[in-house]
Symmetry: C2
Subunit: 203 residues, 2 copies
């Protein structure tokens, strides 16, 4: 029994630097924000695919998956939306700790929520990416048919119409998706991450 | 604008099989359960280190980190403990989806919580690992000084003393840490994962 009697003395998480060296990658949080229909999910998925093809561990956290799983106990009141984003920020932090490039794709309309996410994730590994298109373009795209419902009066508080969106003042990257191709948007995101040293050459 | 007008048609997550092929790894959930002091954290960390050194993405979710972050809004009532584990299972599922070998290290005293975790994570990629030592051995180790507090009457409901622990009936692996070295415990965990095809040779 001698070997395991003092098991607790053995608990030492592997240090972050050593972890990054072994995995050949450092985790970070790439926080997309923008209106519904601005192109967040499309660009997030395209970034994820480009990173995976470059053999990087990348993962997109997005609304539907979180709303039907982790946050299925939450509704759409302002309090619940804030708690929704709080939990997402905490989960994104865990992914970054793990070493994953975690891309979050949520409207996240309030500056305060995005600032909290930055605090939680850690400033040095947090990127705010503003996925931007004019409201009329977003409404024309209407990928989930939500704007149609809003105009029909079926959704009372919708970001950009009945509820305000606070655009980022000084985002790490600003992409106008009505003027930029998906390829260029992806290149911009990867360049932004690379410029801060998060995409070192694979070993 | 033509290129991005129909952005939403582009949203296709990379299929799981393709993801696994690119990453050279399939995600799973290795759910440790056992009394405080049974050795969960020690063995979880040792497994994580062994996997990292084998260039596998592995990550330990454990109590202190989750309780001070994601679940800091929760207390220790039975409802809150259940919600604590529900969220952990959902987060572990996300890690598995991402492709990470996710090891969770929580007492998780109730069969029902562990069954729910299995359902959430997906049976085919879920491993229940019973980290087992007699109560007196756990109490003697007392890594966090909790048993001392319990005996002093400072903690009313403590798993194994004032509150029951339901041992797994048919776990994927049962480790008696009073009779097994850490090295052998780690080897057992890795062998259990490998036997179900989750540790294929690195590309």
């Amino acid at each position: 029994m001698s070997e395991t009697k003092h098991l607790h003395n053995q608990v030492k998480p592997i240090p972050p630097g050593e972890r990054a060296r072994l995995l050949g990658q450092q985790g970070c949080v790439v926080w997309f924000t923008g209106l519904s229909g601005s192109g967040k999910s499309t660009i997030a998925r395209a970034c994820e695919e480009a990173l995976l093809k470059d053999r990087r561990f990348a993962y997109v956290l997005d609304g539907d998956e979180i709303r039907t799983g982790l946050n299925k106990d939450l509704g759409f009141s302002m309090d619940d939306r804030t708690e929704n984003l709080r939990r997402i920020a905490e989960v994104a932090r865990l992914f970054a700790e793990c070493g994953v490039i975690c891309i979050t794709s949520f409207i996240s309309p309030l500056k305060s929520s995005r600032e909290e996410a930055r605090q939680v994730a850690g400033d040095a590994r947090f990127f705010e990416v503003f996925i931007d298109a004019p409201l009329d373009v977003c409404e024309q795209r209407d990928p989930k048919g939500l704007y149609r419902k809003v105009r029909a009066g079926e959704i009372p508080e919708f970001t950009g119409i009945g509820s305000s969106y606070e655009p980022p003042v000084n985002p790490d990257l600003h992409i106008r998706t009505d003027k930029t191709s998906i390829q260029d948007a992806v290149a911009g995101v990867l360049q932004t991450i690379r410029a801060r040293g998060f995409l070192k050459a694979n070993a």
